[in-house]
């Protein structure tokens, strides 16, 4: 019972782990290059949750100085993840650009077909 309670107490971590594994699984299991990128995005997004969820202090207010409030949420994880989101967007944009070029060069975005065409050369 104790371990079940632990799972529910830390449900944000459970969600993070499920997202992380799902994303990683898609990257490994799919041969379609766009789907791989979707998996990669899911994987990166899980990390955003890992950072942001513990930053919330229950009963805390947004971190704005005011004499009436003494408990604030931690703003630092949000700032970090804002940076990480920018990095993630840049990565996916570059990935999609590469897939477009690969489609122009090979006429397909399925990994096994691309390897088969390279083998023939």
């Amino acid at each position: 019972m104790e371990s079940f309670k632990g799972l529910f107490d830390h449900y944000n971590y459970v969600v993070t782990i499920v997202l992380m594994i799902a994303g990683l699984y898609i990257v490994i299991a799919r041969g379609n290059m766009i789907k791989k990128l979707v998996g990669l995005m899911l994987f990166q997004t899980s990390v955003y949750l890992l950072y942001i969820a513990p930053g919330k202090v229950i009963g805390g207010t947004p971190p704005v100085l005011d004499a009436k409030f003494t408990v604030y949420s931690n703003p630092l994880p949000h700032v970090l993840i804002l940076t990480a989101i920018v990095v993630g967007v840049a990565t996916i944009a570059l990935g999609l650009a590469l897939v477009t070029r690969i489609h122009e060069a090979y006429g397909t975005i399925e990994e096994d077909e691309i390897f088969a065409r390279d083998e023939q050369e």
């Binding site: 791989k36 990390v47 990480a84 990095v87 990565t91 990935g95 897939v99 060069a105 390279d118």
Partner: protein, 502 residues
């Protein structure tokens, strides 16, 4: 002057960063090359100034934007990263003159300027990872260098370069994300992102939360290992190196993996080693088998490879095995060997890949079977290849010998003579694959592809000869390489927490 000296750590990163922004507005390839060469030439000056400052005055702490650590981002320069800064910036500056002809030959006219822009961004990222004292800042720089290196690789002429860049993007992003997860776990248990501050608080945190601390190490280790191509996480490397433009291959082979190894050293020795007893963590236990597997399996794969660039790429994976073996030994001689090999291997691989680029420039191919007799038509290029190749094997009197000497002494001091034997045995495999290339180059009749080839123009030849000469010179005068590396190893090891107080 002293005002400028105080800003050196910032300038180290800001100069190439602004250089890249300016390069993005240049349209002509030659002008962009001139600009990139000028910018790159400034970085080793800054790096040497920092090294001298650190050598005489101890570590420098630079507060970005005037915010003191651990609140603000700190650029912290100690002997280890000053050494890596010198290595990265110096090798890049030596290679830059080579780029003009090689890039003009391999990349379409309208894309050349972008190539230099991406190169400068990549250099910014690599120098940034090395100089920063902030774990999250290191991630941002890691992504700057990675994203630009994907573009550099994708610019190769072969369409397979695109697939190689895509695969590197997927694996590189997974690696960087693992690194952020590790940093996140450390942040959750210590509340800090500054390397030194994390190290200070980690011992206490680990007593309360032992599992996240250990999981954080695992995530950091795997993430960085993907970046440094530790066997068996190296699968992205051979294709990326084989199909990238020659200059990009030489640049990335000499610098990118070395910076990742630096980050691994930082995490193991400056964070975990300071806070916890390394002997109780499974770092060496993981590194030993993987390093030895890399030394043998990757070397054997290199023997069976006929594309010379791929052959050297596999050889890089094997050589990284020697460096991580030095880290795994964790004693004075072993660690010195690992760090000095980081330096020597950058010079050696830089020279070898530049030689291949020159052969591709003149003969149009780097397939082994088409290169018969190339040693007679391109004598200086091939001489440089042979010299650097001998250094790779570790022939006495070359830089490679110094690295292996320290590694073997380290293994013997640790009481592990089988490892000393394995180091020698795996070097013999290097003799096979370098020897095979030499045999084709000198003892075969001149083939049609190389019949009209000659040594490349001076701008390409000089950087190649300088690096080849350096890979021998640092086998004789070891003060800058082994001297500094020895002191770095001493500092890292003396900072370690010994015994199991926790």
């Amino acid at each position: 002057m002293s005002a400028l000296t105080a800003q050196l750590p910032g300038l180290q990163v800001v100069i190439p960063l602004l250089g890249a922004v300016v390069a993005a507005f240049i349209r002509r390839g030659t002008i962009a090359w001139g600009w990139a060469t000028l910018i790159t030439a400034m970085t080793p000056i800054v790096a040497f100034a920092l090294l001298i400052q650190v050598w005489t005055g101890g570590p420098i702490s630079y507060h970005m934007g005037g915010w003191p650590p651990p609140i603000g981002i700190e650029y912290r320069v100690d002997l280890l990263n000053a050494f890596v800064l010198v290595l990265v910036s110096l090798v890049s500056a030596i290679m830059m003159p080579y780029a003009r002809r090689s890039v003009a030959h391999e990349i379409d006219g309208d894309k050349q300027a972008w190539f230099y822009c991406m190169y400068l961004l990549c250099l910014t990222g690599l120098l940034g990872i090395t100089i920063t004292g902030d774990a999250f800042n290191a991630f941002v720089f890691m992504e700057i260098s990675s994203l630009s290196s994907y573009v550099l690789i994708a610019m190769g002429r072969d369409r397979r370069a695109l697939v190689a860049a895509y695969q590197y993007l997927i694996i590189g992003t997974i690696g960087a994300t693992f690194y952020v997860v590790g940093v996140g776990l450390l942040y959750l248990v210590t509340g800090s992102l500054n390397f030194a501050d994390i190290a200070l608080r980690l011992g206490e945190a680990s007593a309360v939360y032992p599992r996240p601390v250990l999981a954080g190490l695992a995530f950091l280790f795997v993430g960085i290992s993907l970046k440094l191509a530790l066997f068996p996480l190296h699968v992205w490397l051979p294709n990326a190196y084989a199909y990238a433009p020659s200059f990009a291959t030489a640049f990335l082979a000499a610098t990118a993996t070395k910076v990742a190894i630096y980050l691994l050293l930082r995490v193991i020795f400056s964070i975990y080693g300071v806070a916890l007893d390394l002997k109780t963590l499974p770092v060496s236990a993981v590194l030993y088998p993987l390093s030895i597997a890399a030394m043998f399996i990757a070397s054997i794969l290199a023997v069976y490879e006929t594309n010379l660039k791929r052959m050297l790429a596999y050889s890089s994976v094997a050589q990284i095995g020697y460096i991580t073996l030095g880290i795994a030994l964790m004693n004075q001689a072993g660690l010195t060997g690992g760090i000095v090999h980081l330096f020597n291997h950058a010079l050696i691989k830089g020279a070898l890949f530049l030689a291949l680029g020159a052969i591709l420039y003149r003969a149009g191919t780097i397939k082994l079977e088409q290169l018969g007799g190339v040693g007679r038509t391109m004598p200086l290029t091939c001489a440089a290849f042979v010299v650097a190749g001998m250094s790779l094997m570790g022939v006495p009197g070359t830089a490679g010998f110094i690295s292996k000497y320290y590694l073997i002494v380290g293994a013997l001091n640790a009481g592990m003579w089988p490892i000393a034997f394995l180091i020698v045995a795996s070097s013999l495999i290097a003799l096979v694959y370098i020897g095979r290339a030499v045999e084709v180059a000198y003892f075969r009749p001149v083939s049609s592809a190389v019949a009209h080839a000659k040594d490349p123009p001076l701008l390409m030849l000089v950087p190649l000869l300088v690096l080849a000469f350096a890979s021998v010179y640092f086998g004789i005068d070891t003060e800058l390489s082994a001297g500094v590396a020895g002191r770095v190893a001493e500092t890292l090891l003396s900072g370690l927490k010994v015994g199991g107080a926790n």
